[in-house]
């Protein structure tokens, strides 16, 4: 398997062993059944997850519709949830397990407390989550280009 670019945003490469060990003190391994809602928009962002197997869809509620719209799916090695790190610590999207998911679940409040005390850890965690955010933002912008519109046909159909 390739082990280069995306690994930069995987915590195994983005964080030192020492920092990972610190975070693991507030983590536990969980198995999340398919169809479980991990969180909903507007809820308190007090947990986050790193997926070890399976996929999670990130979704958004559309006014006037009962169904949510899936924005993106994230899979093995990826972080689910970043709203816990930034004030007001409220989920910006919803998340649902699209398959059975095995993940590391972290208590965000404890991680935030650790970061308040340890500036080095705070910087490392901020860099890690920031890189993930930058990557997802860039992907979202690229998708806004109507990536698959045929040449010369303009944008939206």
């Amino acid at each position: 398997m390739n082990d280069t670019a995306t690994a930069e945003v995987r915590w195994t490469r983005a964080l030192s062993a020492e920092h990972r060990a610190r975070l693991m003190t507030v983590a536990r391994e969980v198995t999340i059944p398919q169809g479980t809602r991990l969180f909903d928009e507007g809820g308190r962002a007090d947990w986050f997850w790193i997926i070890r197997a399976g996929t999670v869809s990130l979704d958004m509620h559309l006014p006037g519709r009962r169904r949510t719209q899936v924005i993106e799916t994230v899979g093995c090695g990826e972080l689910v949830g970043w709203s816990w790190l930034f004030s007001p610590n409220v989920w910006q999207l919803g998340a649902e397990a699209t398959t059975t998911v095995r993940a590391l679940e972290f208590e965000a409040r404890a991680v935030r407390r650790m970061c308040e005390i340890d500036t080095e850890l705070s910087s490392a965690v901020g860099q890690w989550v920031g890189r993930i955010l930058a990557r997802r933002l860039q992907a979202a912008r690229t998708r806004l280009l109507e990536l698959y519109a045929p040449y010369g046909s303009g944008g939206a159909r």
Partner: protein, 288 residues
């Protein structure tokens, strides 16, 4: 008086399109037609009289819709793997006319033109095929060749991105390809879509390949090609190991008119498939 037998009439060679005026369309009949997506159809064609020389995957033909004009279309199937076929999406007058063609209608073809994918350069190596939208069509014969000769190649990965689930081509065939990894993602999920949502480059996370011994083949709209090729380079695949198919305004297809010029390249002659190390600097020049 001795009667000499009359000399046998000289055998007339079977005419081929190569003997004809190369810029004249050669009549081909639509022998099968099927809808790929709501706005895309595939037409299987047979020569009415003379045959065109064989196409290789990645080459294109100028396909003439009589009374409307002609457009370049890559082959989406070659005779060795299922008959000559072109896949066309209705985006303009000519392509809409071609999409509306029925079985029995006659279209004009001239070609083959351009370079091919040159899959043979990937022998003994891992293969990554990245297709965006209708870009899967020109890659289909390459994928068929690769999966038909598994001993000749390393791990074959096919990554497909589309705008919506209903824009996905060849869904049934895609599932049957015996690849190391076939990934499909869409930008916008419809109700009922249970697959992945996101940029096609994210599928590279699941692909199985060693960057140093990988050849990549990318086809789709230019923003998608750029995003994919840059991501592949970022992941360690050398730019000269990435083949991309570029689209420009092709008119003559013989390197004469210059409409498809991209810097030093005439894409109808030097492309449409080129190595990324040649294409990348040209695509960065805004005025080109």
């Amino acid at each position: 008086m001795t009667v000499q037998p009359a000399p046998a009439p000289a055998r007339r060679p079977v005419p081929t399109a190569a003997d004809a005026e190369p810029r004249l369309p050669v009549p081909h009949r639509v022998i099968a037609r099927w809808r790929e997506t709501p706005d895309t159809v595939t037409l299987r064609l047979d020569p009415v009289d003379v045959a065109l020389p064989d196409f290789v995957p990645g080459q294109f033909a100028m396909v003439h819709c009589f009374g409307r004009g002609e457009i370049p279309l890559s082959v989406s199937s070659i005779p060795t793997t299922g008959g000559l076929a072109h896949t066309v999406r209705a985006v303009g007058a000519v392509s809409a006319g071609l999409c509306a063609a029925r079985v029995g209608d006659v279209l004009g073809l001239r070609g083959p033109y351009g370079t091919g994918w040159e899959l043979e350069r990937a022998r003994g190596q891992d293969v990554i095929v990245v297709a965006g939208g209708i870009g899967l069509a020109p890659l289909r014969p390459l994928i068929r060749d690769a999966v038909a000769a598994p001993r000749h190649y390393g791990r074959v990965n096919v990554l497909i991105g589309a705008r919506t689930p209903s824009d996905l081509l060849a869904k049934y065939e895609t599932r049957r390809w015996p690849t190391a990894c076939t990934g499909v993602t869409v930008d916008r999920a419809d109700p009922g879509w249970t697959g992945e949502v996101g940029l096609v480059t994210r599928l590279l996370d699941r692909a199985q390949y060693l960057p140093a011994r990988t050849r990549a083949f990318v086809c789709g709209p230019e923003p998608m090609i750029r995003a994919t090729a840059r991501e592949l380079v970022h992941r360690g695949v050398a730019a000269d190991r990435i083949r991309v198919s570029l689209e420009r305004n092709m008119r003559c297809a013989t390197g004469t008119c210059g409409h498809c010029q991209l810097g030093p390249l005439l894409l109808c002659r030097d492309g449409a498939v080129v190595d990324w190390d040649r294409a990348e600097p040209l695509l960065s020049i805004r005025e080109l």
